[in-house]
Structures are given as C-alpha cells and as structure tokens.
C-alpha cells in the first residue's frame, strides 16, 4: 500500500535513463544541418530543464497533492539564489555550502509565509502568497539594496567580486563554481561524424540532484503523509470532523515545496554565480504554475514534462526568425512563401509566448490531465491497436488451420 510499487520504480528508472542520456537524446540533428536549431542538447538549456524540473516537482507537492495554489513560489527560488551567491562571496566557490544555505533559508522563508498564508484557503491563499512574493521582490529590488546595507545589490543583481572575503579559497582553488574542484562549466565534447554531443559537469550534477528529489517526491506521494495531503484536497471539512488538524500537514507540504524551489534557486546560482530580483517576479511564479498544469498536476512525472516543454519553447522557438522561415518555405513559389512567412511570423521569435498560450489552451481544454494524460491516451491507443491486430491475426490463423483438422 505505502512505498514505491513496481510501476513507480520503473518510472523512476526510465526517468534516470532519459536524464543521463539527455545529451544524446536532445541532440538528434547533425551539427550544421537545417534542423540543428531544434537541438536542445547544449549545457545551458539542459541545466535549465532539470533545474526547472526540480522547481515544478516541488510545486506539485503542494499544488498537486493539497490543491493549494501558490502564486508566490518564485520568491523561494530567488531567496535560494541569493543565499547561494552569498556563500560564494563569503566562503568561496564550492557549491555545497551555497546549496545547503539555499535549502535552509528558503525553508525558513516558506515556514513564515506558509504560516500566515495557510490561514486562508482558495483564492485568498493564492493572493496572500502572491502578495508575499511581490513584497520579497520589492525588498530584493530596492529596499535591501542601499549603500548602508546591501544584501541584494538591487538592479545589477548579486555577484561575486574579487575583493569578496571568500575565506575558504586557497591559491589554487578554481575561480568558478565547483564541487570540490569539479568545475560546473567543464564540458566534454564528443564528435561522432557530423554529430556533436556535449557532456557538462553542471548538468550531470543537477540531473543527479533531480533524480534524488524526484525519488523523494515519489516517496512523499506514496506515504501516509501524502495520503493526508490528498485527503485535504478531496475534502478538507471531513478531515476536521475526523479529528485531524490539517494545518500541520499543509504547512509541511508548503515548506517542502518551498525548499524544492530554494534548491532550484541554489542550483541556478551554482551554474551561473549570479542572483537577480527578477527571478522572484510574479511572472516567474506564474510560469511554474503553467509548467505543472501543462504537464499534469498531481502526477509524478507531469511537472518535469511541463518544465521541459516550456523551457524548450522559450529557448528554441524564440530563436526562429524570418530568415529561417524563408529557408523553410523556399520550395514554394515566392508569393506563397511570403504569405506563409507572414502567417507564421507572429508565432515565432518574440511571439513564442503566443504559441505557448495556444498550446496551453489546447492542452487544458482537450487534455485536462496535462501532457501525462496525452501520453496515457496515446499508449492506450497503441496498445488497443496492437491487441486488435493480434486478435485479427489469431482469427485468421484459426480459420486457415480449421480445414486441416
């Protein structure tokens, strides 16, 4: 009943294999080919896939299980980033202390904000979290950045300067974020014919962290604690009349998901030692909501899919420009080519938000369970198809063998 069942284990193994082979899977097109712009297997983007995956998986522990919709989770991400960069400034570029502090600080933040916000439910809860996140943004952007007390470095963003203490740095320590000497931006490039595959230390570090926290999330889903959270979503009144105070459960879920966000923020800073207030803005909070719903709220794998989907669009579609379009439609007569470019133009480049919005609408209307539901439907369809084929073959073989009997 509790703990991982066979399906969960195989899901986890599949996710592990995909993540570890991602540099191959995401770079299917040869370098220099026309399709190469659809390759997503470069370190920067792959890191973002897993970091936002962690963010969304954590968000889903709150939203997917309890139904409490937070509109302020980016605050925890931002706090995590600031905490991590401060460790770089004070101690040095080893990422471990930074990530640990991200977890602690975001946990404390989530405890405070959750304690107040969870006094209300529904839309009021959402508004409270949004208000807290916007206050955090204002604090980071201006209030906590003045010459007397500069915690966030305001608009410029917090970064490491050469005159920072960095007390744990020796003369030979690397001057980029590293894990006991393993530099996060170290990349091994493998050329196979026209193909180029990149294996980046930072990506693999984030990927392993993601696998660990996904495992933890599955454990939470399948625990008595997870059962209580699902019960809160289903009928909070009943919980009360059954003698259960729901506050400790929802608060624990809130803090855990806040710490996931803080971890994501710490990892972000570890990949690129910089923290800016814009990471806390409401658009960033909204993005993780989209990711989770797009992938499938309340499912184990959905949030990761949603995060990957949105980050892919943000980075790939936004790079397509009119020149590329003209190349694509070059085989058409000129007038048609121009017409096509004219039609497609609003959906690419800066218009990628439009495409994403349309896709989001389609998913929410036709697949309320998100991409995961889409996948399940597809699997059922394929399986059903095969079963039909098998049945047909069987019928055929029996009819042909019958006369011989």
């Amino acid at each position: 009943m509790f703990g991982l069942d066979k399906k969960d284990t195989s899901l986890l193994i599949i996710v592990a294999i995909i993540t570890l082979l991602a540099p191959f899977i995401l770079n299917p097109f040869p370098e220099g080919s026309a399709m190469a712009q659809f390759n997503a297997g470069y370190p920067d983007l792959m890191q973002r896939f897993v970091i936002f995956g962690i963010f969304a998986v954590g968000f889903n522990i709150l939203f997917g299980l309890t139904g409490y919709l937070s509109f302020g989770h980016a605050a925890f991400l931002g706090v995590g980033s600031y905490a991590c960069v401060w460790m770089f400034k004070l101690l040095g570029y080893n990422i471990l202390p930074g990530i640990l502090l991200s977890l602690v600080v975001s946990g404390i933040f989530a405890l405070g904000i959750g304690y107040v916000s969870l006094r209300r439910s529904g839309i009021y809860f959402s508004i409270l979290t949004l208000a807290f996140a916007q206050m955090s943004f204002a604090l980071a952007y201006s209030v906590l950045s003045n010459p007397k007390f500069n915690l966030t470095n305001g608009e410029t963003g917090l970064q490491v300067y050469t005159d920072d203490p960095q007390v744990l740095m020796g003369p030979n320590s690397p001057t980029v974020p590293n894990l006991f000497g393993l530099e996060m931006n170290a990349t091994y490039k493998l050329e196979l014919g026209p193909w180029l595959f990149q294996f980046n230390a930072g990506y693999y570090f984030c990927a392993i962290v993601m696998l660990l926290v996904v495992y933890l999330a599955i454990r939470i889903f399948r625990s008595p604690f997870g059962l209580m959270l699902r019960a809160v979503k289903s009928n909070q009144q009943r919980m009360g009349y059954t003698g259960l105070n729901t506050r400790p459960y929802t608060l624990a879920a809130f803090v855990i998901s806040g710490m996931y966000a803080g971890l994501a923020g710490g990892l972000m800073a570890s990949m690129d030692p910089l923290a800016g207030a814009e990471r806390m803005q409401w658009t960033a909070s909204g993005e993780v909501v989209l990711m989770t719903i797009l992938g499938g709220a309340g499912t184990l794998i959905g949030p990761i899919l949603g995060a990957g989907f949105i980050k892919y669009f943000e980075n790939i579609f936004s790079k397509i420009n009119d020149n590329v379009l003209h190349q694509w439609f070059a085989f058409m007569p000129d007038w048609m080519e121009n017409a096509m470019v004219f039609i497609v133009h609003p959906f690419i480049g800066k218009g990628w938000h439009l495409t994403l919005g349309l896709l989001f609408m389609l998913v929410v209307i036709f697949l309320p369970g998100g991409l995961v539901e889409g996948g399940q439907k597809l699997m059922r369809w394929i399986r059903g198809d095969r079963r039909k084929k098998k049945a047909a073959e069987k019928a055929k073989s029996t009819t042909t063998t019958e006369p011989a009997e």
Partner: protein, 251 residues
C-alpha cells in the same frame, strides 16, 4: 445529567428562528432518536454539536466539558463522530484509503519520526481499515473510487469511517436515506451489534420509523426548532400530539 447535555440552545438564520431554546439530554450508552418534519432544525442542532455552527445562546456539554468554541477536529478528538445527511467522504480517494484516514486520525495522525513505529502504525492502520471494510460488507469495493459509488454505499462507508474511530458519541443524520431495504436492515443490525458490544452512545436523526423503533431507547420530537415531546418509543407511537405535528394526522 447525560453524556451530552444541550441547554437552551437557540440559532437564528436571518429572519428564521431555526432553533429556539432547545434543551435535551442524551443518556450514556443509549440510542436517542430525534425525529421531526423537514426543516424542523434537526441537522442544525447537530451542526451546533460538532463545531460547524456556533449557537446564538445556550450551552452544549459533552462529558462535563463545553464543546462550544472548539474547532471540529478538537470536538472529534473528545470522542464525537458524525455521519452527515449528504455523505461527506473523500471522493477522490479509494474506499480503502477513505477508511484509513480515520484510522490514522485515531493514532495521532500520519507523522511519525521513528521509522519502526511508522511501519508498525501503517500495518496497524491497514489491518484495522480492512477489517472495518469486511464488517461493513464492503471489502469487494476496497479499490473503488469513493465518488463513483451509490449514495447508499457512500453512506455506509461514512458510517464505517466513524465507527472505526471508536467514538463515545456517534451522531447519525438520516443514515439510511438513499439506501436499499437490504442495506438499511444491514445497517440496523450493525448498529445494534455495535451498541451491544461497545460503550457507545448514539444520537440518530431518522425519517424511517422502522429504523427508529428498532433502535431507539428514547425519542425526542422536534418541530419548528423546539422539542415537542420526549418519551420512550412505545409512548411516542400513540402520542396524539406527535401524530399531529409529525405525521400531519389529527387524532
């Protein structure tokens, strides 16, 4: 003095006086039925007992302690469980999961720092929940989504959930409404059995007179927010005032 003492409880909704000066005492280890026409205020009275509503005036004492001002979960922890008129269950969960929630509640919830005691608790909860499903004749439905069951089954599940907590006072709001005859009889038998085996007090609101007369030790008739009479079942049966108020007959 009973285990439950309701004194001068009044509740007003806008212009409607739903309860006026209700005084009622439920004796320990008895079955007390509350009957009365629709809109008499029966459900409202129960709402005042479990912390869903706070009465405008009056006092509600359970086992010598006031329940007013306490939140629903605290009142439940005092030993009061309630079955609602419209089933209140966890629709998104399976039947077995539904049954496990009260079992966890009776064991201080789901948190447990020690892994061994967590393991023991889980095993214990699972066993109790499965046993209760067998008692309720629902073992075959254990994997079903609770929301997809019939109304009668939902109510049986809810009764089972409340019973699994071993409450000292069980409040039942029309428990057999929407049940098939056979299930109604099963429920009567189950409640009779529970009553004999355990130290439990039951307050039951019911329209089905067959159920009322097979279970109740004492009956209160409520009409327009006030208790009309309180008496033993055999006396209620022949009481002309009751027939007039409740059955709409003139004696």
């Amino acid at each position: 003095m009973g285990i439950l003492d309701i004194k001068d409880v009044s509740k007003r909704f806008g212009g409607l006086q739903a309860l006026s000066d209700v005084t009622l005492s439920v004796k320990e280890n008895s079955v007390h039925a509350i009957i009365g026409p629709n809109g008499a205020g029966k459900s409202t009275l129960l709402n005042c007992l479990v912390g869903k509503l706070i009465p405008d005036t009056g006092s509600v004492m359970f086992d010598g302690k006031s329940v007013l001002g306490r939140s629903p979960y605290e009142i439940n922890q005092m030993g009061i469980s309630r079955v609602f008129q419209t089933p209140e269950i966890f629709g998104d969960l399976t039947v077995l999961e539904n049954m496990m929630i009260p079992c966890f509640a009776s064991r201080d919830g789901a948190f447990e720092l020690n892994a061994l005691s967590q393991f023991m608790k889980q095993r214990d909860v699972l066993e109790t929940a499965e046993a209760m499903l067998v008692d309720m004749n629902m073992a075959d439905k254990r994997g079903m989504h609770a929301a997809s069951m019939s109304r009668g089954d939902k109510r049986r599940l809810e009764i089972g959930m409340c019973l699994s907590q071993n409450p000292r006072l069980l409040l039942l709001d029309e428990p057999t409404a929407g049940m098939a005859r056979a299930d109604t009889n099963n429920t009567i038998d189950l409640l009779k059995e529970i009553k004999e085996k355990r130290d439990i007090t039951i307050a039951i609101i019911e329209h089905d007179m067959h159920v009322v007369f097979s279970l109740a030790d004492r009956i209160t008739v409520l009409a327009q927010g006030t208790p009309l009479v309180e008496d033993d079942p055999q006396n209620i049966r022949g009481n002309p005032k009751v027939r007039e108020a409740y059955l709409g007959e003139s004696a």
